[in-house]
Symmetry: C3
Subunit: 122 residues, 3 copies
């Protein structure tokens, strides 16, 4: 924890998912709410997507941040805003109409398991 998952539509040509994750992880670390090494992020490029029914070109990036309880709603809302700001900064210069959406939800602490395993010796 935290876990961040991005979905981005493939029509956002030039969206650099790796750069976006670098930037997002840095901003999450800078927020002071998380241990650096615990920030786990991933991005999935969407090949099959639709926005609405009008048949016009539209894209989106959806981000879902999951955090353990212990950060109040004001803090979670600020994290949501931090992410949407980062996504806007990462949007390529040429893009269709694009919706940037961010969810922040809480993990269930009572049943969340985590095991950290050191690198194996080669």
């Amino acid at each position: 924890m935290p876990h961040l998952t991005l979905h981005y539509t493939a029509n956002l040509a030039g969206f650099d998912a790796d750069a976006a994750l670098d930037d997002l992880n840095r901003r999450l670390a800078d927020s002071g709410h998380f241990e650096e090494s615990a920030i786990k992020s991933r991005a999935l490029a969407l090949q099959h997507y639709r926005v609405g029914t009008a048949g016009v070109e539209r894209g989106f990036v959806h981000a879902h941040l999951k955090v353990l309880p212990g950060r109040d709603e004001t803090t979670r809302r600020a994290l949501s805003q931090t992410i949407v700001t980062a996504l806007q900064a990462q949007l390529p210069s040429h893009h269709p109409a694009t919706q940037l959406c961010v969810e922040v939800t809480e993990l269930d602490a009572g049943t969340y398991s985590k095991l950290v395993i050191d690198a194996s010796q080669p």
Copy 2:
């Protein structure tokens, strides 16, 4: 919002994910509960999947619809049924035993962020 995510197993040969999303978006728009342009759907083809342990060929489609609060449980249940009906209509004529599953959950309005950005000029 709403956000719809489909997972479908790769053994559903002939499942047309794009046609399914077109159909689902149209039905969601026709429900009258959402603004047309806000319906964001995506489908992920699953290459690695297992159903049960019996070693027989089985497939599934899983749909997860996320909506903001403001629609009561009866409405959300009706949306769930709308989606399962659409998935059944989209199932290819030849398919293994297939489970169609639909979740409808509520987004957290307090921390959900959305920013709509117009298309950039080329």
Copy 3:
């Protein structure tokens, strides 16, 4: 139900997603909490991911199990531990520092839909 979704980072070279799903389904069936044929699992290999900001090689496996209500928190916690144990057993012998994380959440029974369709005759 249950639904199990794995995310694993592509730097876990040799992670056998199909073998992991076989093992996980078997353990979930052996738990006695689920009907064998209802266990639906999938794994997504992550091509774009980041762990932290330190620039060192790190990986993760994230598992999310969704179950219908009717299993108490002690049971759900035991299922979480069952999954993390299985993931540890499936980790390839050579791997970077790796975080194994498991979430167990409840589906909303009031809006969950499921339709089981028999195989079509060829």
